[in-house]
């Protein structure tokens, strides 16, 4: 495998291998929280933070505990537990020190636990044999990419609110169609860099 520069992975994770537009991971909170730019920006930041931290934690767990004991097959369940514990911890810390963000996120913060993008990033970094630096760049990039996607959708949805969307398509329906169009637009970036 060619050694990919972490910087390349970082840019690719944002644009060409965007979690939402090319992997379609983390869709539930993406559709649910993308009604307002401010809240979706908050959630995006939280997801980015959780992604970066859990990728680091899971990296160490995988290479320093699971591999030495030949327990790679446990990675799914262990990653899920570590992500869940981390989100719980984050919730307590936010509530204490950033109550406004905590209340703005409300029910969605615990939902990050079951955001498949988070587990996806941890699993991708292992499947793709990334080094520590590459993994970190990949996770931060993925988080920023996810944020970019949700904030862009929120911006569009705020506009759609005043448009006359056919009744059956209002809400999640039009959001999914919009996402499809945005994904097509993002293909335009694919000439820049490609990662595996």
């Amino acid at each position: 495998m060619i050694e990919l520069n972490p910087m390349i992975i970082f840019v690719a994770a944002i644009f060409t291998n965007n979690m939402i537009f090319s992997n379609f991971l983390g869709m539930c909170s993406y559709i649910a929280v993308s009604k307002e730019i401010t809240t979706s920006l908050g959630l995006g930041q939280a997801v980015t933070f959780v992604l970066a931290c859990t990728a680091v934690i899971n990296y160490f767990i995988y290479y320093y505990i699971l591999i030495p004991f030949n327990l790679e097959f446990l990675r799914f369940i262990i990653f899920i537990i570590s992500i869940a514990a981390f989100v719980q911890l984050l919730e307590m810390i936010l509530e204490r020190y950033l109550p406004n963000l905590y209340y703005a996120l409300g029910i969605f913060l615990p939902l990050i636990t079951v955001n498949c993008a988070i587990l996806g990033v941890s699993l991708f970094m292992i499947i793709r044999n990334y080094t520590f630096l590459q993994s970190f760049a990949f996770s931060v990039g993925s988080g920023i990419g996810w944020t970019l996607a949700i904030v862009a959708l929120a911006g569009i949805r705020q506009r759609i609110k005043i448009a006359s969307v056919p009744k059956g398509l209002q809400g999640p329906g039009i959001a999914l169609i919009t996402t499809g169009l945005m994904a097509l637009a993002f293909i335009g970036f694919s000439g820049i860099v490609q990662i595996q």
Binding site: F69, I78, I81, Q88, M92, E95, R96, P99, N100, Y103
Partner: protein
């Protein structure tokens, strides 16, 4: 053997580490310790930090009106927080007016007590208690209105001003999966400290009223808290113009009973508005009060009588009766209870006769 043992041990160990971390965080990050709560600059409480202000107050047996049970949707639980409330949260914004924001008024069910806190609450709220009352009697006043009498526990007493209301808790029952509190004006006189009487009308598909009308029977226990409210008897010599429609009669009953028991010598007129004769109730009792009270007149008015009805009282809406019978508003004050439309039109009639607006007291049901 070790094939099974090692994964199990490692898995258990890692779970234990995460659990330990969370427990430590719970003890440190989530521990706000003991904090001081100062109410009205005089009463000091030492309370455990970490819960909402509303539940902290309830812990201390101080009851703030709250109709949604702390979900941040009713906007009743407003409290002035002078110090230690933290930033105004997004969840509060929908219920706070500009004046509220200027005066540090917040929703107590949303703010958490995390540091020393100074709050202001109306003095009357210290009087508010929670009672487990037993239904002692249910009487049908009309097809859709019942009079209920509740007995308070042996050692409990309720102190209220005539006109105030209590909150009744409707529990979860078949067809309703949430606990709700609803306001009901006290119909009994404050001298009866051991009983409460409420007049409760049926609202189709209403949570609390369906509970009262369809499920409650004599002997059942209900949770009531109170008293609350600024609508109450004002002691002076002005003539009283009382107006009620439907269940709005409840607080008027309390006022009249109070006046009768204390032998208060004040001129009073009571306009009872309804649609048809069957919507009127307790007519005999009000007639009797005309004899026993100092100078009291009962004026029932019906808006939907036909010539076939045997009716020699006033006709039309209550505000028409007031327009017709009230000479001038001087030295008078108004006590109105009922629906919004009635209150608005009666306030208009009274002010046009010269009753000062600040002397017109009302509860909108």
């Amino acid at each position: 053997m070790s094939n099974i043992l090692i994964p199990t041990v490692i898995f258990a160990l890692m779970s234990a580490i995460f659990a330990l971390l969370l427990t430590i965080a719970d003890r440190t990050v989530n521990n706000y310790g003991e904090v001081k709560m100062t109410i009205n600059e005089e009463k000091e409480y030492t309370v455990e930090g970490g819960s909402t202000l509303l539940s902290t107050l309830i812990e201390e047996k101080i009851f703030i009106p709250s109709a949604c049970g702390g979900k941040g949707t009713c906007g009743y639980c407003k409290v002035q927080i002078d110090e230690g409330g933290g930033p105004v949260l997004a969840t509060e914004m929908t219920h706070l007016t500009e004046d509220d924001l200027k005066n540090n008024v917040r929703l107590s069910c949303q703010c958490k007590v995390k540091q020393d806190i100074k709050i202001q609450i109306p003095e009357e709220l210290f009087n508010v208690r929670e009672y487990d009352a037993v239904v002692e009697n249910i009487t049908d006043l009309t097809d859709v209105i019942k009079l209920l009498r509740f007995k308070l526990p042996e050692d409990a007493e309720i102190n209220f001003k005539p006109g105030q209301y209590v909150q009744l808790k409707a529990p979860i029952y078949e067809g309703n999966d949430e606990e709700v509190y609803r306001a009901y004006s006290i119909a009994s006189s404050p001298t009866m400290k051991n009983y409460l009487e409420l007049v409760i009308g049926y609202v189709p598909e209403g949570i609390a009223t369906t509970y009262v009308h369809r499920h409650l029977t004599v002997g059942d226990e209900v949770s009531i808290n109170g008293p609350y409210g600024d609508f109450h008897y004002h002691d002076n010599d002005r003539e009283m113009i009382m107006v009620a429609t439907g269940t709005g009669v409840a607080p008027i009953l309390s006022l009249l009973n109070y006046m009768k028991e204390h032998n208060i010598k004040r001129k009073a007129r009571f306009y009872f508005g309804a649609k048809t004769p069957k919507d009127l109730f307790m007519l005999d009792y009000f007639k009797e009060l005309e004899e026993t009270l100092f100078d009291f007149k009962f004026i029932p008015t019906l808006s939907r009588v036909t010539d076939d009805d045997d009716w020699d009282g006033e006709r039309g809406r209550v505000n028409n009766a007031i327009d017709k019978l009230l000479e001038d508003g001087e030295d008078k004050e108004g006590y109105l209870c009922g629906n919004e439309a009635m209150i608005e039109s009666v306030v208009k009639s009274l002010t046009s006769k010269g009753v000062p607006e600040e002397l017109i007291y009302y509860d909108k049901f």
